[in-house]
């Protein structure tokens, strides 16, 4: 692990890439967070899912969001869609398992909502959770903030 860190920072300095400090990305208190930078708002067995401010900040301008079909099954930790920004398309992974009951159609015409309002208007899917116990394996906002800090210093 140490040698990987060494190489990552050596490579960065070798290429003279400055890793400018973006400052702290926002987190929302009552949400839960996955290590792959998705958030979930749970109410009973209903969940709303999106990507975090940290994620959208690192991605840059989102130009396209690939949405699943309503009715599709999602599994915790598995990809259900994708976001594209500047020639890189990244998987979005579901923080919970269940069935997709709604997708944010607005994102088809306004993918930038993911950047501008990652926790509100930029929500991506709504899920009927099949196993509410899974939620306990997710991070709270403090754990997630710390996680992001550690990842950024990698």
């Amino acid at each position: 692990m140490a040698s990987r860190l060494l190489w990552a920072s050596k490579a960065a300095s070798y290429l003279k890439i400055s890793t400018f400090n973006r400052g702290f990305a926002s987190v929302v208190k009552d949400l839960k967070y996955a290590e792959s930078h998705e958030w979930v708002k749970v109410k009973g067995n209903s969940a709303t899912v999106g990507i975090t401010d940290h994620a959208q900040d690192h991605l840059g301008d989102v130009v396209y969001v690939e949405l699943p079909e309503v009715g599709a099954t999602v599994t915790q930790g598995s990809s259900f869609g994708a976001v594209e920004s500047v020639k890189a398309t990244s998987d979005i992974n579901s923080p919970v398992s269940g069935k997709v009951v709604e997708v944010n159609e607005e994102l088809s015409s306004s993918p930038g909502l993911v950047n501008g309002s990652p926790y509100e208007n930029g929500w991506i899917i709504k899920v009927e959770i099949s196993d509410t116990n899974e939620v306990s394996s997710l991070m709270d906002c403090e754990q997630y903030s710390k996680f992001c800090e550690e990842e950024d210093n990698h």
Binding site: W7, A11, E84, V86, K87
Partner: protein, 295 residues
């Protein structure tokens, strides 16, 4: 048009001494089905401090896109399982050419096609990579690095800039072509011509797809599309630039032995600069491509 270089990466980098990569590349072609099989060879790897990267090098082969794509995805699935078990250790690099094909990215618009998508002049594939439509064909070298960015830097922008850096260095150190980036447009440009296109997919910090460098590519199929969705700028190749742009762009009838040499030189330089930028040591794997006659 102003071509600005992005970030503090300079394209005026002095040539580096060539470090030879150990290992052997062998390909054999037999009359059997389109199926790529790999036999691992015990290539002798010098003990260095660099992380190792498996290299499947078919740079002289024009591989059908569908085969290479399926192969890439199978490697990605294997790597994802290793990542889940915390056992991922070696990155992968595939080098090849493609038979003529158009490929689309996740957000690609049909507006960037100068033909009806239901009746394309060439095979066309909708892929999971980022970026707009592009053409791949003989004379164009493709690098498909399957990289775990946890081994490098967990930053997609860094990765894209690093891929560009590989090409910029190749063009300068080997061909004395001054290439640059254009802010907001991923890719590598010489003047107002795009020589290398880049488009990637990322899943849990594992990247795939990659870059395509026009070496001696027949550029005429690019007129069937608005490449990468950019209307005002053209596409170029190393061969065209070395000849002088006053000559007409290369057609298949212009193909000569010099093209093979150009590909050889570009290939060697690409591997060298890839290793330098990503601080990797390549372990060449032998690849057997089996082809069956069409049923």
């Amino acid at each position: 048009m102003i071509v600005a270089s992005n970030s503090c990466l300079s394209c005026l980098i002095p040539p580096w001494t060539i470090r030879s990569n150990s290992g052997q590349i062998s390909t054999s072609r037999r009359a059997s089905a389109s199926q790529i099989t790999i036999t691992e060879s015990n290539s002798l790897v010098q003990q260095t401090n660099k992380r190792r990267c498996k290299c499947y090098d078919m740079y002289k082969e024009a591989v059908p896109f569908a085969e290479a794509w399926a192969w890439q995805k199978s490697i990605v699935e294997e790597r994802k399982s290793l990542i889940d078990r915390n056992e991922d250790d070696l990155d992968t690099l595939i080098v090849l050419q493609h038979q003529p094909v158009y490929t689309l990215g996740t957000a690609s618009s049909e507006n960037n096609l100068n033909f009806d998508i239901k009746d394309p002049p060439l095979p066309i594939y909708q892929t999971e990579r980022g970026g707009e439509v592009t053409y791949h064909g003989p004379g164009q070298l493709l690098l498909y690095p399957i990289m775990n960015l946890r081994f490098q830097k967990m930053d997609l922008h860094w990765y894209l800039r690093a891929l560009e850096e590989v090409v910029i260095r190749v063009l300068f150190s080997t061909f004395s072509l001054k290439a640059s980036r254009v802010e907001g447009l991923t890719g590598v440009w010489v003047g107002d011509k795009k020589l290398a296109a880049i488009g990637i997919r990322v899943s849990k910090w594992l990247t795939y797809h990659g870059l395509a460098l026009n070496v001696s590519t027949d550029l005429s199929p690019f007129s069937g599309i608005i490449p990468c969705g950019i209307k005002d700028l053209g596409v170029g190749s190393i061969k065209e630039l070395l000849r002088g742009s006053s000559r007409p762009s290369s057609t298949s009838s212009d193909h000569d032995d010099g093209d093979g040499k150009l590909i050889d030189i570009a290939h060697e330089s690409l591997l060298k600069e890839f290793c330098e930028v990503f601080q990797l040591e390549l372990c060449h794997q032998s690849v057997s491509i089996l082809r069956y006659p069409d049923k």
